[in-house]
Symmetry: C2
Subunit: 135 residues, 2 copies
């Protein structure tokens, strides 16, 4: 059963190649960081702060494409963790069908924030992510 | 009649907020520069050089979304120039229909390079872009 998460914090450091988004359980306190690219971190940060962009950005284009092809982004899921790498899916509803599109968590989170859809994490991934913190 | 163009040069300067892609007519010598974001410039540059990314990047995700929703990117068009700002469209074929999705030229070019589809520029835009150089 996937767990619904929310953005707790975005940590952007221009001195570091790795930026972080901390996801926290909506109905609890469990949380873990995910490394994202500087581009996606900036995109997420800008939207969270409500900064308007004069032109649609790349993640808005993803939403336009989904919409114009007759779909609707329903949610995003961080679905897997292998060798310290997270995997994610955009879940798109189209003609009553649920289509899962593989993507990086960076893009999944940026799309979720842009389209205001829920973010889920597979229970197994959350368990592993938390276990990993004790390394 | 849109004119088919190709990438002639990508100019990336980390000291400058503006990066440039120079588009050149396939069947002629007319060419003009378009300002693109650093993210898209890097994405385009990497692909042109054939550098593989270990994970699908944001513009690959756009292609996956199009494909999984039953469409196919046919080409991209730089369709308009207003107040020194270029506008573009991704043209997607789906169920025999041609769907045009508005986007920034940055994203259009990154998608074109990622999906190896042709790049077109409206004749009027090319004319204005060249006239603009005499300013």
């Amino acid at each position: 059963m996937p767990i619904q998460m929310e953005l707790r914090r975005i940590i952007i450091s221009e001195l570091d190649a790795h930026q972080y988004v901390v996801l926290k359980e909506v109905a609890g306190e469990r949380n873990f960081p995910i490394v994202v690219g500087i581009f996606e971190a900036t995109s997420i940060d800008r939207r969270v702060k409500g900064e308007e962009s004069p032109r649609p950005l790349t993640h808005d284009l993803i939403l336009s494409v989904v919409e114009q092809l007759g779909g609707e982004v329903r949610d995003v899921v961080i679905s897997d963790l292998k060798d310290h790498t997270y995997f994610a899916k955009l879940r798109v509803r189209k003609d009553g069908e649920l289509i899962e599109v593989d993507c990086r968590p960076s893009d999944a989170l940026a799309v979720a924030v842009a389209s205001r859809v829920p973010i889920f994490v597979a229970e197994s991934v959350l368990g592993e992510a938390l276990a990993g913190e004790d390394d």
